[in-house]
C-alpha cells in the first residue's frame, strides 16, 4: 500500500481510493503494487500522470504503466487513459536526473524500445517517490535474481500497448464474448537425412494421417532437407525439392478433407509448413514467419529454427521447427541454440514466441540418451519399462528439469522407440563403425493453455532416413468471439467511449453572450468586462477565433486577453474596449448599415464548442463619417437621431434631399470664412487630424446640435473638422469619378464629370472650391499646398493613388477649380453653360444655407 507505514500522516484518503480505481483498470490476475503521481511538461503545460507499478501473475513479470486522467479526483477507471507502457525488462532504466530544482524534481524512464521519457514530481511527494523507486528496483531485481537466464514473458502487456481505448476496453471485457472452439492440431517432424522425397513412392499417410478425427491444422517440420552444395547455390533446384516435399505431404494428409497450404518457411535444410483445413482459412487473421540461423559460426543455418505465427479467431498460435546442435556431448550448445531461437525470433509485429496462447515446438532437438558407463540393463524388460529406463538418461528431460531449456514446455509421455539412429531401409539401430547410441532426437513439445495431447508416436515403417518420423496430435481450445455477444459488448464500449468523449468535452461558461455598450459616441472610448468560468473537470484553453480571413473582431473593438487557459474552477475576466474614432468610424457605420449588432465574437474552447458573443451598443450619430447624401437627408441636428433612424437614412438611396448641402459642412465653411486672415497656414499636410483630443468633442457636439453658441474651437480645429467631414465617409467626395477626374486634362472635361455627381456632393465640392479659391486669392494659404491636401482627400481611394504622378495629378485637378487664373480662363473658354449652371446652384445653396443658419 502506498504511503502505509511511512508515517506520512498527510497521505490523503484519495490516494487509497485512487489505487482502488486504478486496480479496476486491470485484470484479475494483475496486481497493482504502487501508484505514484507525477507529471510531464509539454510547452507551458503540466500534464498529470499516474504511474502504476503492476505485475501479472500469469506472466510473472512487472511493468510500469503511465496513465493520463480525464478528471481529478478520479471517479471511475474509465477516466484513466494509458499513456505509456514500460516493461521492467533488462533494458529498463529509472534514471534520477540531477538537474531537478527546488520546485521540480525529475526522473527518466526508458527501455530499449523507448527513448527516455521525463517525468516530474513535486518535492512534497519526495517520500513517495523514494518508495516508488525502491519498489521498482526490488521488483526488477526479483525477476532477474531468481534466474538470470530466464526468458521473461511480457506478453500480457500487449493488451495495454499500442491499442486504442476501444480495444483495451473490449479486451478487458473479453470474458463476456469469448467462447472456445476445439481445434485438432497435427504436429509432425522428421529428419529426412538428405534423402529425396521420391525415394518413397507411397504417400506418407502412415505418418500424416494417424488421427481419428480430421485435423484442422497441420504443422509439419522437416530437417536435413535434401540440400547438396549444388542445390544450396541453385535456388530453382531447391525450390523444386521443396515443392516435391510439399506435394508429397499434401497428398498424404487425412483423406476426404480439403486442405490448403497456409505458409511454409525454410532455413537451409530446416523447413516448416503449415497446412489448414480450407474452411478454416478465412478465420486466420494473421500469419507471419521468421527464422533464426545457428550452426557453423552461428550463422550458416545448417542448424537453427524456423517459426510460423498465426492468429486463428482470437487465438495466437506459434509453431517452431528447430534443428539443434548434434553430438552426445553438445548439450550446452543445444541449450544455447534453443535460447538463441527464443530470443532471436521476432515476427513482423514484434511478437516473440512467448507472445502466443498456444506454442508447439517440434524438430530434431538432438538431445541424446547418456547412460552412465557400464550401465547394466536388468533382465528382460517390457517396451514400456525400456522407454522409462532410457528416458531417465534423456538429456532433454534432464536439462528441462534443471530449467536450462524449454522452460514452461510440456512433453507427452514417450511410448515409442528412440527415433535415431537407424540403418536406412531397416528398423535396426546404427550398425556402422560409429555405432551411435540410440536417442530420442525427434520431439514435439507444447506450451500454453487449454492444450490436450491426443497422440504422440513415431512411425517405424518409414525407413528411408536414419531417423524415424514423429507426430503428435493435440486438441486446443481456441479463443473465438461469439459475434452476437461481441457486437453487443462492442456497441456498449463504443457508446461509453462516445459518451465519455462528449461528457468530457471542455466546457466553459460565459457570464453573458451579449455585451451591450449602451450609449457609444464618436471619439469617446468605452469598455465592458465579462467573466468566463471553467466549471468542467479539466483545464481548458480558450481563444477568440478569427473570422474568415479577418481579425477576431471589428477594428473598433479590442479584446483582452485574446486567448488564455483556465484551470479547473477558475474564472477570467475579459475586457472589450470600444473606440469609434477617425480610423474606425467608417467600419462602425458600415456595420450599423448592414447589421443589427456591432460584432459577433467567436469564443472557441479548444476541443470543444464555440460560443458566439454578440456585441451591441447604441451609437449616437454624429456628422463624422456620414456621407454628404445621408447628411442632406437629415432635417434636424444629428444628436436628435437614433442609431436606428440613421441606419435607415444610410440605406436610403433616393435622390430626395432635405437640404442641398450638409448644414454641418456649411457651418464650418461659414465659420472659417469669417476668420479672414486667421486662416493663414490652417491647412497643412501634417496629419494632426488623426489624433483628436477630448477637446474635439465640443466641436463634434457643436456640429451635431446645430449649436447657436460660439464655435468652441479655433481655426485649426475647424479646419481639422472640415477635412474630417470630407475624408471620413466611406466613399470619397468625388466618387464614382475619381479615376476619370485624375485623368482629365482640362477643366471642361473635369467639369463634365462633376456635373454628374450627386447634388449634395457636387454642391459641397463647388462650395469648398469657391471658399478655397478665395483664400488663395487673399493669399491666406499656398495654392500648391492646399491643392495637394484637398486633392488627396477628395480623390482618395483611387487605385491610381499608387501612381508616381498621383500627387501632381491631384494638384492639377484641384487647380482647375481653386486656381483663380485657371478657373477664370476655363470659364471663359466656352463652358459657361455647364459650369455656370453649377455655379448658380452652389450659390443658391450657399444663400439658402445662409438664410437657414441660425
Amino acid at each position: 500500500m502506498p504511503g502505509s507505514g511511512t508515517g506520512t500522516g498527510n497521505v490523503p484518503m484519495a490516494v487509497k481510493s485512487t489505487l482502488d480505481i486504478v486496480r479496476q483498470r486491470f485484470k484479475e490476475d494483475e496486481i497493482v503494487h504502487y501508484i505514484f503521481e507525477a507529471y510531464q511538461i509539454q510547452g507551458q503545460e503540466y500534464l498529470d500522470r499516474l504511474l502504476a507499478l503492476v505485475s501479472s501473475e500469469s506472466g510473472g513479470t512487472y511493468a510500469i504503466i503511465a496513465f493520463s486522467y480525464l478528471r481529478t479526483p478520479l471517479t471511475t477507471a474509465n477516466e484513466l487513459i494509458i499513456n505509456k507502457v514500460f516493461a521492467l525488462n533488462e533494458s529498463f532504466q529509472l534514471r534520477q536526473d540531477g538537474k531537478g530544482s527546488i520546485t521540480t524534481m525529475q526522473f527518466d524512464l526508458s527501455t530499449a524500445e523507448d527513448r527516455p521519457i521525463k517525468y516530474y514530481y513535486y518535492p512534497l511527494k519526495s517520500q513517495e517517490y523514494e518508495e516508488f523507486v525502491a519498489k521498482v528496483i526490488s521488483c526488477k531485481n526479483s525477476m532477474y535474481k531468481c534466474d538470470p537466464e530466464a526468458v521473461l514473458n511480457f506478453s500480457w502487456l500487449n493488451d495495454y500497448r499500442q491499442i486504442g481505448e476501444v480495444k483495451q476496453e473490449l479486451k478487458k471485457r473479453e470474458a463476456e464474448y469469448i467462447v472456445y472452439k476445439d481445434i485438432i492440431i497435427y504436429c509432425a517432424t522428421w529428419n529426412v537425412n538428405n534423402k529425396p522425397c521420391c525415394d518413397s513412392n507411397s504417400p506418407l499417410r502412415s505418418w500424416l494421417a494417424c488421427s481419428e478425427k480430421s485435423p484442422d491444422i497441420y504443422a509439419i517440420g522437416i530437417q536435413e532437407l535434401d540440400t547438396p552444395t549444388k542445390a544450396m547455390l541453385n535456388s530453382t533446384q531447391m525450390q523444386a525439392t521443396v515443392e516435391q516435399w510439399t506435394q508429397k505431404m499434401v497428398e498424404s494428409l487425412y483423406p476426404g478433407v480439403e486442405y490448403e497450404v497456409l505458409r511454409s518457411v525454410r532455413l537451409v535444410g530446416i523447413m516448416l509448413i503449415v497446412i489448414v483445413r480450407k474452411q478454416l482459412r478465412q478465420h486466420i487473421l494473421r500469419c507471419q514467419l521468421n527464422s533464426v540461423a545457428r550452426g557453423v559460426l552461428n550463422t550458416l543455418g545448417n542448424k537453427g529454427g524456423v517459426a510460423i505465427s498465426l492468429q486463428l479467431h482470437e487465438g495466437n498460435i506459434c509453431f517452431v521447427n528447430s534443428h539443434l546442435a548434434a553430438h552426445m556431448g553438445y548439450v550446452d550448445e543445444r541449450n544455447k541454440d534453443y535460447n538463441a531461437i527464443v530470443e532471436g525470433m521476432r515476427f513482423d509485429d514484434r511478437r516473440t514466441i512467448s507472445d502466443h496462447d498456444h506454442i508447439f515446438w517440434l524438430g530434431d532437438l538432438n538431445y541424446r540418451i547418456q547412460e552412465p558407463p557400464g550401465q547394466q540393463r536388468p533382465g528382460p524388460l517390457t517396451d514400456a519399462q525400456t522407454y522409462e529406463l532410457l528416458l531417465q538418461y534423456d538429456q532433454l528431460g534432464q536439462e528441462m528439469r534443471k530449467g536450462r531449456c524449454f522452460d514452461g514446455y510440456t512433453e507427452g509421455e514417450i511410448k515409442f522407440r528412440p527415433t535415431y539412429k537407424y540403418d536406412p531401409g531397416t528398423d535396426n539401430y546404427d550398425s556402422s563403425e560409429k555405432q551411435r547410441a540410440p536417442a530420442y532426437c525427434d520431439r514435439v513439445l507444447w506450451k500454453g493453455t487449454r492444450i490436450e495431447q491426443l497422440a504422440y508416436d513415431s512411425i517405424m515403417e518409414i525407413r528411408q532416413s536414419d531417423h524415424k518420423p514423429v507426430y503428435a496430435i493435440f486438441r486446443a481450445k481456441i479463443k473465438k468471439r461469439d459475434e452476437i455477444k461481441y457486437k453487443k459488448v462492442q456497441e456498449e464500449v463504443l457508446k461509453a467511449v462516445d459518451k465519455r468523449e462528449n461528457d468530457n468535452q471542455p466546457q466553459i461558461t460565459v457570464e453573458t453572450v451579449s455585451i451591450d455598450f449602451g450609449r457609444v459616441r464618436f471619439n469617446e472610448p468605452s469598455m465592458q468586462d465579462f467573466n468566463v468560468y471553467n466549471n468542467c473537470p479539466l483545464p481548458v484553453d480558450f481563444r477568440f477565433k478569427e473570422k474568415d480571413m479577418h481579425d477576431i473582431c471589428e477594428k473598433y473593438l479590442q479584446v483582452d486577453p485574446r486567448q488564455d487557459s483556465l484551470m479547473i474552477d477558475s474564472a477570467r475576466s475579459i475586457r472589450i474596449k470600444l473606440l469609434v474614432d477617425v480610423r474606425t468610424v467608417g467600419n462602425l457605420l458600415k456595420k450599423i448599415r448592414t447589421s443589427d449588432n456591432f460584432d459577433i465574437l467567436i469564443l472557441h474552447v479548444e476541443n470543444g464548442r464555440d460560443i458566439f458573443i454578440t456585441v451591441t451598443g447604441d451609437y449616437q450619430p454624429s456628422c463624422f463619417g456620414l456621407s454628404m447624401e445621408t447628411m442632406c437627408r437629415t432635417n434636424r441636428p444629428l444628436s436628435e437621431y437614433t442609431q436606428e433612424q440613421i441606419k435607415h437614412l444610410m440605406r436610403d438611396e433616393s435622390p430626395e434631399y432635405q437640404v442641398t448641402m450638409p448644414r454641418e459642412f456649411f457651418l464650418l465653411i461659414d465659420y472659417l470664412h469669417r476668420q479672414g486672415s486667421n486662416l493663414e497656414g490652417c491647412f497643412n499636410a501634417h496629419d494632426s487630424r488623426y489624433s483628436l483630443g477630448g477637446h474635439f468633442n465640443a466641436v463634434r457636439d457643436w456640429l451635431d446640435t446645430w449649436s447657436n453658441e460660439e464655435f468652441p474651437g479655433n481655426v485649426q480645429t475647424a479646419a481639422q473638422a472640415l477635412m474630417l467631414l470630407l475624408e471620413l465617409p466611406e466613399q470619397s467626395l468625388l466618387e464614382p469619378f475619381v479615376e476619370d477626374l485624375l485623368a482629365s486634362s482640362s477643366k471642361s472635361k473635369a467639369m463634365d464629370y462633376i456635373a454628374l455627381l450627386s447634388a449634395p456632393k457636387r454642391n459641397v465640392f463647388m462650395h469648398l472650391c469657391m471658399f478655397l479659391r478665395e483664400g488663395i486669392l487673399c493669399q491666406y494659404y499656398d495654392l500648391q499646398q492646399v491643392a495637394l491636401i484637398f486633392g488627396r482627400i477628395l480623390l482618395r481611394g483611387s487605385s491610381s493613388s499608387s501612381r508616381m504622378d498621383y500627387n501632381s495629378r491631384c494638384i492639377q485637378f484641384m487647380r482647375f477649380f481653386i486656381d483663380s487664373d485657371i478657373s477664370d480662363s476655363a470659364l471663359g473658354n466656352g463652358h459657361a453653360s455647364g459650369s455656370g449652371n453649377i455655379q448658380a446652384k452652389s450659390s443658391t445653396s450657399a444663400t439658402f444655407s445662409s438664410s437657414q443658419s441660425r
Partner: protein
C-alpha cells in the same frame, strides 16, 4: 561530410522533438478509420440540437436552450466494417448568426439541413439554407434534408410529399424524423455516412483535398505516417 552528418542529426533531433511534442501523433492509436465532419443547419427552433443529442445520447433533451454558437458532438459508427468517427457541428439557427455560422460549412462532408414540419416558414427558408450549403461546401458534400418533429402530426404544416418533391428536385436525401421519439434520427445520420463512404469508395471524394471533410486514419499509426497525421492533429498540438 561531417557537416552533413551533423545537419542530419539535427534534423533527427528536431523530428524526435516534434514527435515528443505531439504525443497524439505517435502513441495514440485510433479507434476509427475515418473522421467525417457534419454540420447541422436550419432555422432557429427546428430541433437541430435535439437531433444531435438524440443521436449521440439516445435521449430527448426537453427544454433545450437556444444554441448560442456551435456545439460539438461525436459518435463512432460502423459502415461496411469500418469505424467512422462522426464529428458533428451543431450550429446556431438564429438569423443574426447566419453570417458567422457560414464559416463552419467549410470542410463538411455531410450537411444535415433541418426544418420543422409544423412551421411552414422553416420549410420556406430551405432554399436559402441550401444556397448557402451549395456555395460554401464541396460538390461532393452529402446534403440530407430532415423534416423534424414528425411526432407532431396534428399540427403539421408541410406534407411529406411536398418536401420529398423538393428534396428530389434538388438531389437531397430526405427523411422525416423525430428528435423526441428518436424515429429515423439514427437513420438520417447513418445514411449520410453511408453515402459519404460510398463516395469515397467510388472515388467521387478526394481524401487528399483539404476540405473534403474526411480524414482517413490508418489503424496502426507509425512514425512513417508522421506527415499524414500532422494535419488532423494540427489543432491539438503546438507544432
Amino acid at each position: 561530410m561531417n557537416k552533413m552528418r551533423s545537419v542530419v542529426n539535427k534534423l533527427h533531433e528536431r523530428i524526435d522533438y516534434l514527435i515528443e511534442k505531439c504525443p497524439n501523433m505517435t502513441a495514440a492509436p485510433y479507434n476509427y478509420n475515418y473522421i467525417f465532419k457534419y454540420i447541422i443547419i436550419g432555422d432557429m427552433g427546428v430541433g437541430k440540437s435535439c437531433l444531435l443529442h438524440q443521436f449521440t445520447e439516445k435521449k430527448f433533451m426537453a427544454n433545450c436552450p437556444h444554441t448560442i454558437g456551435v456545439e460539438f458532438g461525436t459518435r463512432i459508427i460502423e459502415v461496411d466494417d469500418k469505424k467512422i468517427k462522426l464529428q458533428i457541428w451543431d450550429t446556431a439557427g438564429q438569423e443574426r448568426f447566419r453570417a458567422v455560422t457560414r464559416s463552419y460549412y467549410r470542410g463538411a462532408a455531410g450537411a444535415l439541413m433541418v426544418y420543422d414540419i409544423t412551421r411552414r416558414s422553416t420549410y420556406n427558408h430551405l432554399s436559402s439554407w441550401l444556397t448557402d450549403t451549395r456555395n460554401l461546401t464541396n460538390p461532393s458534400t452529402v446534403i440530407f434534408l430532415i423534416g423534424n418533429k414528425s411526432d407532431l402530426e396534428s399540427t403539421r404544416e408541410v406534407t411529406y410529399e411536398e418536401a420529398k418533391e423538393f428534396a428530389d428536385e434538388n438531389g437531397l436525401m430526405f427523411l422525416e424524423a423525430s428528435a423526441m421519439t428518436g424515429q429515423n434520427v439514427e437513420e438520417a445520420f447513418l445514411e449520410t455516412a453511408r453515402k459519404i463512404y460510398q463516395n469515397i469508395q467510388e472515388g467521387r471524394l478526394d481524401l487528399n483535398a483539404s476540405e473534403s471533410g474526411v480524414q482517413h486514419r490508418p489503424s496502426q499509426p507509425s512514425r512513417t505516417s508522421l506527415t499524414n497525421e500532422a494535419s488532423p492533429n494540427r489543432d491539438q498540438c503546438s507544432c
